[in-house]
């Protein structure tokens, strides 16, 4: 599903050059639940951003869902992300000015769909994460766990083949983190969604199919 070949990422400023990733070769199979671990600053999030086509590698090539991501225009990239990838962030990144239902509908705004279809799909996604009773709340009225469940609903509403989760339980206590993890496992198991998750938590990583470890930008396991 995801094929990374010789991926390198170098950040350059006028005086400093930082190698964030070097020679990453990674294949993620369809329906796999992969976790990425490593110390802070080892390049986990950078790798995830590259997989999500939010960032470009300095060298190397990416194939996602049988498409070569190189040389896509801004518009084509946007369309590809919208159809294929769902994101879950550690800090949720919900839009506080919009109600829960509107937040979940967001990816569908960039597709051809009617308001009725959007609402229907958003309600179904919220049902899956157990938040159908919070549709009219604003994010600021929710707990951290509830916010992350809204973020998951937003990530799955467009039925993407891939979900990229950047420390989805990082800001949650263990009970809430387990709830969120259970939802992700269920999604992977029941719907066959490919999931790549960055985490610091060994226990969470153990629940996934495979673990990849990074150290100083290189793959060590």
């Amino acid at each position: 599903m995801i094929h990374l070949q010789n991926i390198e990422k170098v950040y350059r400023t006028d005086t400093v050059e930082t190698q964030a990733l070097s020679s990453i070769n990674l294949n993620v199979a369809k329906g796999e639940f992969l976790s990425i671990m490593g110390p802070s600053g080892c390049g986990k999030s950078t790798l995830l951003n590259i997989m999500g086509l939010l960032d470009e590698p300095t060298r190397g090539s990416i194939r996602i869902a049988d498409s070569t991501a190189d040389k896509l225009s801004d518009k084509q990239l946007a369309h590809f992300r919208n159809r294929t990838i769902g994101f879950i962030f550690q800090s949720y990144h919900l839009i506080n000015d919009l109600r829960v239902l509107d937040n979940v509908e967001l990816p569908l705004l960039y597709r051809k769909s009617t308001a009725k279809e959007r609402k229907q799909l958003a309600l179904e996604a919220l049902e899956k994460v157990g938040l159908s009773n919070r549709t009219k709340h604003f994010p600021t009225q929710l707990s951290g766990g509830q916010k992350q469940r809204v973020a998951i609903a937003r990530a799955i509403v467009g039925q993407p083949e891939i979900i990229l989760a950047d420390e989805p339980t990082g800001n949650l206590d263990s009970a809430m983190g387990s709830d969120v993890m259970d939802i992700l496992i269920r999604l992977n198991k029941d719907e066959g969604t490919t999931i790549v998750m960055v985490t610091h938590d060994e226990n969470m990583a153990r629940k996934t199919h495979r673990l990849v470890r990074l150290f100083d930008g290189s793959q060590v396991q």
Partner: protein, 412 residues
């Protein structure tokens, strides 16, 4: 999609109330000034009572005599003699009206001074212009030729001089110690209508001028009325021809210049132009600069506020990009949000304009000058709103659409 943009726009407006107030104040205040100015210029420029046919009229209000050899130059309105002797005989206009500029005189009512502006006219004046007679009728050619002391007065003068009397035709009115018999009363004309304004209209034969004087300069002007607007070029050409062939008193001057202008050009030539330049382009430049100034201030203000707001909304921008919004879609969203803000500001501006115009119309600051917010002004104002929205939204939207997703997510 638009509903979502609208929700966001309203939420953003509510979130930063002070900035919203500053933005809306800037837009609505500027718009109010523009709309009031437009209403005023509309009042000055458009055909209005009693000069209802400006599109087929030309105006001759200035004549310049220059004698370069003698260092002589005289610039002023033409004389009655010139207009009567040359212009009246033109073939292309259907009618030629001659009238003086208004001249103030004084009278006293109950020991209170009343200034009455007199205007001396010929009989065609009443045919070319659509005066509304509230009572009586205009003086006739016969009365003019006989230099009868008859007058047509304005409604305002009737009220101030005669009080609430229902009819004053045939009554006498005295000003500068001369008595005139009232021949008719017309609806008042505001002072801003220089071609037609007067408190008291009198036969030109009562004017203080020497009948033997054949000088070209004086204090009269003419209104040439054509059959329709297409007659104007021929009328202007015939007048130019008259000026070219006018006998020149070479002992004093060697050049005569005068033009038959459309209404606005005659206005600008009178106040800011000269014989070679009607001043219209200069006026348009000044008006353009003023408009630009009033447009630019709130626009720059909005650009500034909007650009700083981008950083506040970097998380939202990043999320939208991550979930499939292209840079173009985001830029469009921001422009739409900005248009919503400016339309709200515009609507407040329209309401404020109504209030300001109502205050003006009730203040009597300029007698009989009533300003109205007509559809033309409204459309101009809404266009101005769109210009505000686009001008102040495009640059911040461009900046926003270029924001890198990863950087934006990290700054949250």
């Amino acid at each position: 999609m638009l509903k979502n943009y609208f929700k966001i726009a309203i939420a953003v407006l509510k979130r930063r109330k002070f900035f919203t107030f500053i933005s809306l104040f800037g837009i609505s205040f500027s718009l109010t000034i523009i709309m009031v100015l437009t209403a005023f210029s509309d009042h000055l420029v458009d055909s209005s009572y009693p000069d209802a046919h400006r599109s087929r009229n030309l105006y001759i209000s200035m004549m310049r005599l220059t004698g370069e050899k003698h260092g002589f130059s005289q610039n002023g309105p033409p004389s009655f003699y010139f207009l009567d002797h040359y212009v009246k005989k033109m073939k292309t206009p259907e009618k030629v009206a001659i009238t003086s500029f208004h001249q103030p005189t004084n009278t006293y009512i109950n020991n209170k001074k009343l200034t009455i502006d007199q205007k001396f006219t010929d009989d065609t004046f009443w045919e070319v212009l659509d005066f509304e007679f509230l009572e009586g009728k205009p003086y006739t050619r016969q009365q003019i030729d006989n230099a009868e002391r008859v007058a047509v007065i304005s409604e305002n003068v009737r009220r101030k001089y005669f009080g609430d009397e229902p009819s004053v035709t045939g009554r006498y009115i005295e000003t500068d110690n001369i008595r005139y018999r009232v021949s008719g009363v017309v609806k008042s004309v505001p002072i801003t209508q220089f071609a037609t304004y007067g408190d008291m209209y009198l036969p030109h034969t009562l004017g203080k001028r020497d009948p033997q004087d054949k000088g070209l300069n004086g204090d009269y002007f003419a209104i040439l009325q054509g059959k329709d607007a297409s007659s104007l070029p021929a009328m202007a050409a015939e007048y130019d021809d008259i000026i070219r062939r006018l006998p020149i008193d070479t002992s004093r001057y060697d050049k005569i210049s005068s033009r038959a202008d459309k209404y606005v050009a005659s206005y600008t030539r009178l106040f800011i132009g000269n014989q070679d330049d009607s001043g219209l382009n200069r006026l348009l430049l000044y008006v353009g600069l003023v408009l630009l100034f009033f447009l630019l201030l709130p626009t720059l203000n909005l650009v500034n506020i909007n650009t700083s707001r981008i950083m506040e909304r970097s998380s939202e921008i990043a999320v939208r990009k991550a979930f499939g919004a292209s840079s173009g879609t985001l830029a469009l969203q921001f422009i739409v949000e900005n248009l919503i803000l400016t339309v709200i500001g515009g609507l407040i501006g329209v309401v404020l304009s109504f209030i300001v115009l109502a205050i003006w119309n009730n203040s009597g600051a300029l007698e009989d000058v009533y300003l109205y917010l007509n559809y033309k002004v409204l459309i101009i104002s809404l266009l101005v709103c769109l210009v505000f929205g686009l001008m102040s939204g495009v640059y911040p939207a461009w900046r926003m659409s270029r924001l890198h997703v990863v950087t934006a997510l990290k700054t949250y």
